[in-house]
Point group: C2
Chain length 143, copies 2
Amino acid sequence: MEPRVSLITLGVPDVAAARRFYVDGLGWTPTFEVPGDVVFLQVGPGLLLSLFGAADLAEDVDPDATGPAPAPAGMTLAHNVESAEQVDAVIADALAAGARLVKPARRAAWGGYHGYVADPAGVLWEIAFNPSWSVAADGTVQI
Amino acid sequence: MEPRVSLITLGVPDVAAARRFYVDGLGWTPTFEVPGDVVFLQVGPGLLLSLFGAADLAEDVDPDATGPAPAPAGMTLAHNVESAEQVDAVIADALAAGARLVKPARRAAWGGYHGYVADPAGVLWEIAFNPSWSVAADGTVQI
């Protein structure tokens, strides 16, 4: 198994609400969608984010599931930017699009500056400036 | 806010157990690590996966948190491959590395073939062959 994530699927309570946040609010363009059912958004080279109904995702994982969507371990997504000022600006953008402020931006112990917002389904996005983080032309990350 | 995920952080109950699975079991090479504390693995161009203690993640999100790690919406990670045979082979690899079989591989309603395994922390990985999924040289995904 090669080290590769192709798709991050969010099992959300309301696909339309998630779409309003990511597409109408943040202005991200769907790669593909089935109205009311699923929305795919490109979030990196070779990487899509999928907005999918929580019950549909639960059924996709286990067709015999009768309970709620699978509850994974704690998980967050991070969006890195190039400066502390950009962290503040992106958090303001996200809040304007309908996100909820979870952790106001502040200096971080690891030398950067970051904050957390939650999307309408409660998915946590860390908005971060990490001066030790760099991405080479071929996509290789160095810390 | 541009459409970009830089980092996926898994808040796991046991960083050493997570490391044994991803590094020793699957053979993925850490980009950077602080022994016993955090491990970063490259999983795409410009994209890292972080194995971090659940309590540390909860505290990173909210320094005043007294409860357990944040419980996001249901979320899965997908690893796409080029054929049904590769799905079977990767699932076998993951099980050999210590994953748990959640959904045995089968034909999917969307025209492909897939199954689900869970890592030691319960994080769900979908292993999928999707004949409608293609990635251009510049990283753009088409469905």
